[in-house]
């Protein structure tokens, strides 16, 4: 069962990718890119999900995917025209499909009524007489369930590469020869309308999954009169026979007016577990085929079936001792002029097969351009993230060690031009490069977060009755995995906010002379070693008057406080601030932007807002590229070296004695441009010393806590800014109040990274504490 579970996990991973492809394709269609490639890519995504789900018996998912697929198939063969309405329907259907996948995974439930309604809608959109005419239909592309590397009968070579990129699992299956059958239009002339020749060669997997060819034949018989012939020529002598292998081929002549799709549907659940050829009519023998090595006696069926055996198969890795001939693929000659290209199995997952001339109706399998789809010859490796984390740890140690070495050598006063010093320089450079490369391994494009957003925008827009279009930019901007995982919530919140509060209703927009459809832009970019996420809307902007009056009403600021526009805009980040008139599902629970700000700051990030009345607002979020390293200010406090995260520091200054005012019995505040912030001696707060020295002798770092409260931390000296590798204290000890983590400095000693919020709060807990005038807003 474990193995099956593992395959299932792979399946769901691939579902994620397929759903992303699906959504990407549909969005491309929405943008007017409605060509065959895109539709095919969309169709394949749904089809692959269905195929995989079928193998696991995920019934509701299969049923829904099937209806969805049927509509896409109709669209693909141009039976129904592509319209914006259809695309919108498909997008909504993709949301339901995603729900089904999540439900199958055990995450959440599907609203079955909504699903049924959607299925009905899809059915209605599909032409009821949708059985495609084979002559006009493009060569059928059978996308493999990606966890089963098996022969792919395909229309074009690039399709082969596209689908095969998914086949990087390690189930121990060998690679099968790839057979490429190219249909030729010339064949159609000789075709008898409703006679089909179906060649079925089950693989041992078919039986292993408890499928049964007898049942398939019975299903086939329901379509019309059948005449089945068994070809057992590949059956080895009894002493060579592997009891679990599959050796036989059926050739079935079916008379049906239901078309190829109906036949194919019979084999839906053995997709990939048997080699299937469906050919219209009883075509004459191809000259070309006759020259191929002919291993089987001609089948006595009316339609002749030829077996071409690929001799080079024997070099393919073969875990099971089955004779190579057994694995040979079966090709039914479709037509006299049909060229047959044999691609031999290569050990690499991307065999290159050259198609001499693409058939006229064959779909090209090109997927929408994506950076993460490997090109020909490339392959993707799935690696356990723990291994990468271990590597990153080791490289972190290497960096520290290199710094220590450099420092030690420096202590001996070796000339910079000496060989030793130059060697060390090179080592340093190499170490840096290794660190960057290792970090790059864990870096992922923000796409994985972004791709969830179009759906969110649709749902929120529906809920709020607004029209919104999401424009995304920079999806391929890369950032460390640890950051990606925590980007989703802030972005979700900001987008909701942009639609709910930013955009006007369509009527308001029309009245203001704007397009009724609002545009929300989500962009990611790299800027000075950080990742910047921008969420902007073209809505009404922040209503400063209202924000100010609400802040006063809620007691967040004093009424007579004069604030700049920027300061007013930033009021929305205060805890408990919410401008929504009514509390909705979307936003307005008063936990809006302050939560965003806090979670961003917890990541060492910053958030800011720029708003222009009538033109919209832009939220800018800047985050470190990784959570494994941190930019910090190295300071001395009471003989100890501490690192203060740079993200918290607003400014550093040397206070003059007149700026320090006593407040209460022992407290002091620092006057910074007419506002007073509490002065906190880090040494005293952390119990390094009992009494603080005069603040004028030290350096003051003005810091901002996560809740926006400010404090002036007193340190003895500043050593400068440094990037440090974050080390956990909890791993061998436990959390220490006031300390966020530890790091190792160039001299090899451990330095503690200050938890600024905890330090501010530790101070607050001390009983004789004067009220702080600047903190009215935060409390």
């Amino acid at each position: 069962m474990d193995e099956l579970e593992a395959i299932k996990v792979t399946f769901f991973q691939e579902c994620e990718e397929l759903l992303a492809d699906l959504e990407g394709g549909l969005l491309a269609m929405q943008d007017g890119n409605d060509d065959g490639d895109t539709v095919n890519a969309v169709f394949r995504a749904v089809h692959s999900i269905k195929g995989g789900a079928g193998a696991f018996g995920l019934e509701p998912l299969v049923r829904f995917a099937h209806v969805f697929e049927t509509l896409l198939d109709a669209r693909r063969s141009n039976e129904i025209p592509g319209t914006p309405d259809l695309t919108a329907l498909l997008l909504r259907a993709s949301d339901v499909l995603a729900d089904h996948v999540s439900a199958a995974r055990g995450l959440g439930v599907v609203d079955m009524d909504a699903s049924a309604a959607m299925a009905a809608e899809l059915k209605a959109a599909t032409d009821p007489n949708a059985a495609p005419v084979a002559a006009a239909a493009p060569a059928v592309v059978e996308a493999e369930p990606a966890f089963e590397p098996a022969p792919v009968v395909i229309g074009a070579a690039n399709e082969l590469l596209g689908d095969d990129a998914l086949d990087d699992d390690d189930l121990g299956f060998d690679f099968q020869p790839m057979t490429i059958t190219l249909d030729a239009q010339a064949a159609d002339a000789a075709v008898i309308e409703n006679v089909w020749t179906v060649s079925i060669r089950p693989k041992s997997d078919l039986y292993r999954k408890a499928n049964e060819t007898g049942l398939l034949l019975r299903e086939l018989a329901r379509l019309g009169p059948v005449q089945a012939t068994l070809d057992d020529s590949a059956l080895p002598a009894l002493d060579l026979l592997d009891p679990e292998a599959a050796y036989v081929t059926w050739s079935v002549r079916v008379e049906t007016d239901q078309g190829e799709d109906a036949i194919r549907e019979v084999f839906e659940f053995v997709d990939g577990d048997c080699e299937l050829e469906i050919v219209r009519g009883e075509a004459p023998v191809s000259d070309l085929l006759a020259t191929l090595k002919d291993a089987a006696a001609p089948a006595p069926a009316p339609a002749p079936v030829f077996e071409a055996i690929v001799p080079s198969l024997e070099v393919a890795p073969e875990p099971a001792p089955a004779p190579a001939a057994v694995e040979a693929s079966v090709i039914a000659a479709p037509a006299a002029a049909a060229p047959v290209v044999e691609a031999t199995a290569a050990p690499a997952p991307a065999p290159v097969a050259a198609a001499p001339a693409p058939p006229p109706a064959a779909p090209s399998g090109a997927k929408p351009a994506q950076i993460d789809v490997p090109g020909p010859g490339q392959s993707v490796i799935r690696v356990d993230p723990e291994r990468i984390d271990r590597l990153i740890d080791l490289v972190g140690e290497l960096v520290i060690n290199q710094a220590m070495l450099a420092q030690r050598v420096g202590e001996y006063g070796i000339a910079p031009s000496s060989n030793l010093a130059m060697g060390l320089d090179e080592l340093e450079q190499l170490t840096r490069e290794i660190q960057d490369s290792v970090m790059a391994i864990r870096a992922q494009p923000v796409k994985s977060v972004f791709q969830r957003m179009p759906r969110l925008v649709r749902e929120v827009a529906n809920m709020t009755g607004k029209q919104a279009r999401l424009v995304m930019d920079g999806e391929n901007t890369e950032v460390d995995k640890t950051v990606i995982e925590r980007l989703s919530d802030p972005i979700t919140h900001m987008l909701r906010n942009a639609i709910d509060h930013g955009l006007e209703s369509p009527e308001e927009r029309k009245a203001a002379g704007k397009n009724p459809e609002g545009v929300v832009r989500l962009a990611a970019l790299h800027r000075s070693g950080r990742i910047v996420i921008e969420v902007s809307d073209d809505g009404k902007g922040i209503n400063r008057e209202r924000v100010h009056s609400i802040a006063v009403k809620k007691g967040l600021i004093s009424p007579d406080l004069v604030l700049t526009d920027e300061e007013i805009d930033n009021l929305i980040f205060l805890p408990g601030f919410s401008t929504a008139d009514k509390i909705s599902d979307v936003s307005g629970r008063g936990v809006g932007m302050d939560v965003v700000k806090r979670s961003v700051q917890a990541l060492g990030g910053r958030i800011s807002i720029a708003s222009r009345p009538g033109q919209g607002s832009t939220f800018t979020l800047s985050l470190p590229l990784t959570l494994a390293v941190l930019d910090g200010m190295v300071v001395d406090v009471a003989g100890e070296t501490l690192v203060i995260p740079l993200a918290c520091i607003v400014e550093s200054l040397r206070p003059k004695s007149e700026e320090i005012r006593p407040l209460g019995p022992s407290g002091h505040v620092l006057a910074v441009r007419d506002s007073f912030v509490p002065l906190i001696d880090v040494g005293v707060t952390l119990n390094y010393r009992d009494r603080s020295p005069a603040a004028t002798e030290g350096v003051v770092l003005l810091v901002e806590g996560e809740d926006g409260s400010r404090a002036a931390l007193v340190a003895d000296a500043i050593h400068g800014q440094r990037q440090v590798v974050i080390k956990s204290l909890e791993q061998n000890y436990q959390q220490v109040e006031g300390v966020a983590a530890a790091t190792i400095l160039g001299d090899g000693r451990v330095a503690l990274i200050l938890d600024v919020d905890a330090v501010i709060n530790l101070r607050r807990r001390e009983p004789p504490r004067p009220a702080d005038p600047t903190l009215i807003a935060a409390e």
């Binding site: 390094y688 204290l729 061998n732 000890y733 300390v739 000693r749 451990v750």
Partner: protein, 155 residues
Amino acid sequence: MTEAIAASSSETRELISFRVGEQEYCVDIMAVREIRGWSPATTLPQSPSYMRGVINLRGAVLPIMDLAVRLGMPMVEPTVRSVFIVVQADSRTVGLLVDAVSDILSVSDEMCQPTPDIACDAVRSFVRGIISIEGRMISEISLDRLLPEREALAA
């Protein structure tokens, strides 16, 4: 010495003995990862007095516990001869600061005596038994009790 002891019983355990002040203690050798010379530790704020701080052990942050203080004895500044024994207990790795490592002992269970009932709480909690060898008295440390509960120490 060790040979004679090993012959006396089949159920022998190996222990590392060390000095803390004038007294001898030991821990099971299976828990010991390595023994290192003392190097100054980075003080941890808000921590009990027996936590000397943390040091860098090949890139990992290793807390150092002053065993003398933990056992209720006065704190003595470490000298160049002081060492710390890196021990593994539960999932944590901790360094125990001791004055010197003296011996590796092979002892059988019958050589262990229960801890005599004395007033000191620390001794009652942290000494799991006493071993008598050649007139020496060596107390075996119980590592799992030595390390504070993660929550209990948070205060």
